[in-house]
Amino acid sequence: MSTYTFSPPELESIWSQACSELQQQLSPAVFNTWVISNPLTGLFIDGETARAVFTCPTAFHATTIRKNLSTQLKTVLDALVGKAVQLEFEVGTPTPKPPVSPTPNQPTSANQSAAFPSAPAPSQPTPTATSAPPASTGASSHAPTPSPAAPTFNSIGSLIHQTKSGSPRVEDLFSPSTLQSVALDRAVVAARQIGLRADFTFETFAVSTTNEMAHAAATAVSNRPGTAYNPLFLYGGVGVGKTHLMHAIGNNILKNNPETRVIYCTGEEFTNEIVNAIQMKRAIKFKERFRTAQVLLIDDVQFIAGKNAVQEEFFHTFNSLIKQASQVVMTSDRPPHEINLLEDRLRSRFEAGLMIDIQQPSFELRTAILLIKASAVNLSIPMEIAQLIASQVDSARKIEGMITSIRSAVELQKKPITSDLVNTILNTEIDKQRPSLKVTPNDVLRAVANHYRVKQIAIRGQQRVAELVKARHVAMFLLKEDLQLPLAEIGRWFSGRDHTSALHAVRKVQKQLMTDDVLQRDISALRMSLTAVSK
């Protein structure tokens, strides 16, 4: 059996007919209080019976009408609808009706004056918080009310204090500008509590071909967390900007909504927290904290590999977060399939999201990063000096170190920025920064051979195929630079070559490094894998 629902115009015509009939039966006060203010808001016909719904302003109205006026209402409606009508009374605010009122009375004013004798007319312009424009002109915003107890409305209903335009004002607490400025402050505090660096934002991130994919994905994720790319897995070598992007995602999400529950930690911190939680018997708290996060940012996730209990916990956390569409962002120094001892189920889950490789910054990008970072600390570095540094320093993190050194030299020792100064700093920086690797020459040869996918024996041999020569030179370079082997000994490792061939190789690689991005990447990748086996 289908139900027929009356449309609003039909409803209104029936109600106005009913009203005019009831008006004749009842006294005006009774009619206004019990009929007009409790309009018919729904009428449904179900076969032989009909159902009428009235919306009453309070339960007092509903109870009293049901008790005292049901008979009259039913008789009138029965006649108009032509069926036996069941009456129902709801308490609520009727949806605003069009101004075509069936009676000359204004229902709302009749009601309200009963409740609040001092009520102004309902046509009062409402100075709502949300519609008030940011304070720039006097007349449009709320002026201070001297006494909150004394309303400043006059009888016509205009706002008296509007005449005081130009005088000092109190901005509305809930005006959009207040909300926004407090929200920004709260975002800053939230970011600080979470452990995000305030200067790591998208605005301070230099974009170039090596990282534009990662930047685009991170921006998308931060604008639509949980829906754009989930999980997002960023990987790349040291100082390529993984952490910067991750902080920028967190900062931007908080900027959009400071109340978002963001957790940022490194793989190591995650491990420590689990260990602690288990020790202190607070594993439940730990789970609750991580599993209710709306955004989880895990830096250097490769750290959890090989730790079974940690991986187990991370696996469950990860699953429950993804299930509730919470955003997960991870960074690692290598892609999931290269993380040794990572459980397969985790690996496959990491790979299910978007994986982006951030490559070593190119020479141009390094120059740009240098200039951005220098200007952030109010240091102006001439272009040629910037290029000189960029050609010598291969990672963004070292650039930061360089800037600090230059800044202290300039500010504390009052030295001008010259290429000499930069060179001095570069030499000490490089010596200081790279701890010598504790590996054997055999490790180096194995690493180089693996990297270039050639045989160790061939590298050490006499063949002069281009790719072998390249691998051989790189190996010699590493033996000299990182293992500090004497040139003559290096020569002996390669089928008894002369020390001059070794010197030539080292110099050649050093020269190429300044400009060749691929070579830089090769070298830093090799250094990374050598660091991994270093004792």
């Binding site: 006060a29 009774v30 206004n32 209080t33 019990w34 302003p57 309070t58 339960a59 007092f60 109205h61 509903a62 109870t63 009293t64 008790k67 005292n68 308490v91 609520g92 009749a110 309200q112 004056s113 009963a114 409740a115 004798p117 009520a119 102004p120 009062q124 409402t126 100075p127 709502t128 918080a129 304070a135 709320h142 002026a143 201070p144 009310t145 001297p146 006494s147 909150p148 107890a149 309303p151 005081k164 130009g166 005088s167 000092p168 004002r169 109190v170 901005e171 509305d172 607490l173 809930f174 207040t178 909300l179 400025s181 407090v182 929200a183 402050d185 709260r186 800053v188 505090v189 400071p258």
Partner: protein, 369 residues
């Protein structure tokens, strides 16, 4: 209807009840009170259809019955009668009040014409009266009296498993009160008219009840507050409460502590000169002092210096409507108050040192020099 009871009891009850009698209702019967005599008690009710009060007096009933009599006259008459026994006797047209010294006759109307009180049923929430009164004293003053924004005339009550939180705001200042002592298993959020709650508070203190019970019916949009023998029916307001949590500042840069009584004295002095200029009083915070100043175009100027505790030694400049600040300081009931601000034009926050559960946020003045 026929019954006898003591004048004192009836008169006291009527003082409670008369707050619900509207002055000039559009429906005449609303200015009446309804008397209903049952086996051994008299029930008296009054309502303006938005707030209803119903109270019970135990008494000797000879003949049960009910009638509605003009409220104000009844209250006033009973109040003026000699103390001692009085008897009420109703005929179809009138109510007779008989005492040793005379008889008063009031016209009466049939009880059926009086609005019926809704039956409010639901899970009761119990509150100690002291707590209820504390909430009102801390929060109710911040609610608006501007009925064009009904939501702001109400207080937001948030019950949850973590405690009770009550919020009041008029759009320029905001008061938040929290307590972990009252908990509910399921979260409940109510908008209750501040004025009606203050009536309940007065009734509670008159009745000296230790606890009060709230029964909420979301379907009827009514809350029944039961205080001793009296129940007050209050309408629940509909609407969206402003996002108050979003404007509570937490990035505080300047924070100080001061003596409440001394600050009140300073502000009252400054207020004399602030009257003409929208009650603006300026604070200038230095590491050791807070300078409180006000300027009048015609009457002169005032500047006061209050020693403060300023841990971070930060300075600041801010201007308030002095009433907003006084309202809070006078209500907070703490000897010392903590104050924090971010910038001159951003919301500032007050917290009583003794009652960390309370927070008060004030929007400062934009002073155009």
């Amino acid at each position: 209807m026929q019954l006898t009871l003591s004048q004192t009891t009836l008169s006291q009850t009527l003082t409670v009840l008369q707050r619900a009698i509207p002055n000039k209702p559009t429906l005449p019967i609303l200015s009446s009170v309804l008397l209903t005599a049952e086996t051994d008690q008299l029930i008296i009710s009054a309502t303006d259809l938005y707030v209803g009060i119903k109270t019970t007096i135990p008494c000797q009933v000879t003949e049960p019955g009910s009638c509605a009599v003009p409220g104000r006259v009844f209250v006033e008459t009973v109040g003026q009668l000699d103390s001692g026994e009085l008897s009420l006797l109703s005929t179809p047209q009138e109510l007779q009040i008989q005492t040793k010294s005379g008889t008063t006759k009031l016209p009466s109307q049939p009880a059926e014409d009086f609005p019926a009180f809704p039956q409010v049923e639901g899970q009761p929430l119990e509150l100690p009266t002291t707590l209820f009164e504390e909430v009102l004293s801390q929060v109710a003053f911040a609610a608006s009296s501007d009925i064009t924004r009904p939501v702001l005339t109400s207080l937001l009550w948030q019950f949850s498993s973590e405690g009770l939180k009550v919020v009041g705001t008029d759009g320029f200042r905001l008061s938040v009160w929290e307590s972990p002592s009252v908990t509910t298993s399921a979260p409940v959020s109510l908008l209750l008219p501040a004025k009606a709650l203050q009536e309940v508070g007065k009734i509670a203190s008159l009745q000296k009840a230790e606890r009060l019970t709230l029964v909420v019916s979301t379907e009827l949009k009514q809350v029944m507050c039961q205080v001793g023998d009296t129940s007050v029916l209050i309408r629940l307001l509909d609407g969206e409460y402003p996002p108050y949590q979003k404007i509570i500042p937490n990035n505080i840069t300047t924070q100080i502590e001061f003596d409440t009584a001394e600050m009140i004295a300073h502000l009252k002095r400054a207020m004399i000169f602030a009257r003409e200029s929208s009650n603006i009083v300026q604070w200038h915070i230095t590491p050791e002092f807070c300078t409180i100043s006000a300027t009048s175009a015609t009457s002169g100027t005032h500047e006061g210096r209050l020693p403060i505790t300023n841990q971070e030694q930060a300075s600041g400049e801010i201007a308030f409507n002095v009433r907003y600040v006084l309202d809070f300081l006078q209500a907070c009931g703490s000897e010392r108050v903590w104050f924090g601000m971010v910038e001159s034009l951003k919301p500032a926050i007050f917290k009583p040192i003794d009652k960390p559960a309370s927070q008060y946020v004030v929007m400062p003045f934009r002073v155009q020099n």
